[in-house]
């Protein structure tokens, strides 16, 4: 077996351990016995004790949602970095996340009356994500239709500011307590997790991962440049469209339930690439795993560091992410 397969198996072990720790620790500690009891009551009518209910209805969906969102953010980073051939882009920087947050906030204030059922929230977040991402790309194209990375980052900055202030405005109008919290949208939290939103996010993740893996080969070819990719039979236009679409879809759905969580999509793929190279299939598998581990750890820390108070998860991911971002900017010596 190859090195990557061993790392993947090891990573699965680490993820499971972190998740186990995460369901146990917190403001209330749940022990192994209670976890097993709660699981054995699945499907029966027996009532749960308080600790068992905390595990079953709060901790477990939260930890699972955190893992899936971490995986989504990392995969989004892999896709965007591969598409733009640049290690400093991530969904948060190109406006997708803030647009999605705006769409979600709009849903909470106005959209509850829309006849969309349970998909109303992810749908609105998706529209917001499409709008903001499209704006960033339109603004950062030069006359020849090529993207300049500096223009991309600056447009991202402007659009992020615009949409997040839009979120701020809407949060004054909103009645829903969660939607009212600016902290929630800006810094993210997985405290709103339940089995229903876990279901929606997981479905989006699995669909996007499966399709992304099918395009891994084409993204590899793109490393050699667009012309070379065409020579190897890649339909570059379709590739770009599909990858952007998948990215917006996943990120929007994740952001709708957890707010904007920055820098996971930047740091994780970069770290994995440093150790395992740029082959995108490997990068996707390992990055999703590392993203899940990283976000679960961040969430665990955010719940336990100042327990019973809870830090927004984005504070921790930003603390890790900003130094890496600055390092990358300096290393690559971008000319401003």
């Amino acid at each position: 077996m190859t090195k990557a397969v061993w790392i993947f198996i090891l990573g699965c072990g680490v993820l499971l351990s972190v998740m186990l720790a995460a369901v146990k620790l917190g403001a209330v500690e749940v022990n192994t016995n209670e976890i097993l009891q709660a699981l054995s009551k699945l499907g029966t009518q027996e009532s749960l004790t308080t600790n068992e209910a905390i595990f079953m209805n709060i901790r477990l969906p939260r930890v699972l949602l955190t893992a899936v969102v971490g995986a989504i953010l990392a995969l989004g980073g892999v896709l965007l970095q591969a598409l733009f051939l640049n290690p400093i882009v991530e969904p948060g920087l190109v406006g997708t996340s803030s647009g999605a947050a705006f769409g979600a906030a709009l849903y909470f204030t106005l959209g509850v009356n829309l006849p969309l059922g349970e998909f109303g929230l992810p749908f609105m977040a998706f529209l917001g994500g499409v709008l903001s991402t499209a704006l960033v790309f339109l603004l950062s194209q030069n006359k020849k239709g090529k993207l300049a990375i500096v223009a991309l980052l600056l447009s991202g900055l402007a659009i992020n500011a615009l949409f997040l202030s839009g979120v701020g405005f809407l949060s004054y109008l909103a009645r829903d307590p969660q939607a009212r919290s600016i902290t929630f949208w800006n810094l993210g939290t997985t405290s709103g997790a339940n089995w229903d939103n876990l279901k929606v996010v997981s479905v989006a993740f699995v669909i996007c991962l499966v399709i992304s893996l099918r395009y891994a080969k084409s993204l590899n070819a793109l490393i050699l440049g667009e012309d070379e990719a065409v020579y190897l039979g890649v339909n570059v236009k379709r590739l770009k469209f599909v990858i952007l679409f998948l990215n917006v879809l996943m990120i929007a759905v994740a952001t709708a339930f957890t707010g904007v969580i920055s820098f996971v999509g930047l740091v994780v793929p970069h770290l994995v690439r440093m150790f395992l190279g740029s082959e995108n299939k490997r990068l996707m598998w390992i990055s999703t795993l590392v993203g899940a581990v990283l976000l679960c750890l961040s969430d665990l820390l955010s719940r336990t560091l100042f327990a019973p108070a809870e830090l927004p998860i984005g504070i921790l991911t930003t603390l890790i992410g900003v130094p890496v971002f600055i390092y990358l900017l300096r290393k690559n010596n971008y000319q401003f």
């Binding site: 051939l85 080969k217 590899n220 050699l224 070379e228 039979g233 082959e279």
Partner: protein, 255 residues
């Protein structure tokens, strides 16, 4: 491969024009000319990258524009003057890209064998596991060449094309000669036709079968070496006054 009235312009500026040409199978065709004469543009048209030209190119009996990119990738490889440095990539992973048009998700045993043979052909085994970006210019060129060979490897009886844009860049004389000799050998082995842009006139004369001379966007001469790469054409189109040395019945130039 047949070219009929091909004309490619950008903003009314003529970039590449070939009235009429036939690139016979199993031969080495070289496109020669000064810098900016339209050689690379012509190669982009013929390799299917640039579809916005007037006229017709027929590739293996079918209009070039009617080919899907996926199909085309199974019948021709292109060694271009690519310059990429965004992400590190391992040598064997890069050569494997040449097999991408032939498998869906995972490389088969056969693809892996072909990659190993292509690496061996260019004496690249010792670079397996190395990052492509850590190699020298000449070593990189050999890796990219191996990728192209992996792409046109195999399937006896199927005609394949190899397009080369200045393949000798960065190579020292030993490898230049080795390459051109290798091309000769591969023609029969893979049922190959080669179309290349080349700068070294003497190597072109020595290894080419047919020549297209480009000047100011137009193909002004075509045919064999003695006709296209004559002393008069050297003076007229390259603005040099070479001495002529005869060797094995052919004229070579000392500049």
């Amino acid at each position: 491969m047949k070219i009929e009235g091909v004309e490619f312009s950008i903003k009314q500026q003529l970039i590449a024009q070939v009235e009429d040409a036939y690139l016979e199978k199993g031969k080495i065709h070289f496109v020669v000319g000064k810098n900016g004469a339209g050689k690379t543009s012509l190669l982009k048209i013929l390799s299917g990258l640039e579809p916005n030209y007037k006229g017709e190119v027929s590739f293996l009996g079918r209009g070039l524009r009617d080919w899907k990119m996926e199909e085309l990738a199974q019948r021709r490889a292109v060694l271009s003057q690519s310059n990429f440095n965004a992400f590190p990539i391992k040598v064997e992973e890069l050569v494997m890209m040449g097999r991408y048009p032939f498998f869906q998700q995972n490389a088969t045993q056969k693809d892996k064998e072909i990659v190993a043979k292509a690496l061996a052909l260019f004496e690249l085994q010792k670079f397996v596991g190395r990052d492509f970006l850590s190699l020298s210019g000449g070593e990189r060129q050999r890796v990219l060449f191996a990728k192209c060979i992996a792409q046109i490897w195999g399937k006896e009886g199927h005609r394949k094309y190899l397009f080369l844009d200045e393949p000798l860049t960065y190579l020292d004389v030993e490898y230049q000669v080795q390459f051109l000799q290798l091309l000769r050998d591969l023609i029969e082995r893979f049922n190959l036709t080669i179309v290349g842009v080349i700068h070294d006139i003497n190597l072109a004369i020595n290894y080419g079968d047919n020549f297209l001379l480009m000047h100011a966007g137009k193909c002004v001469e075509q045919g064999d070496g003695s006709r296209v790469l004559s002393r008069e054409n050297m003076q007229k189109y390259f603005k040099v006054e070479p001495h002529v040395l005869e060797h094995q019945g052919r004229d070579f130039f000392v500049f």
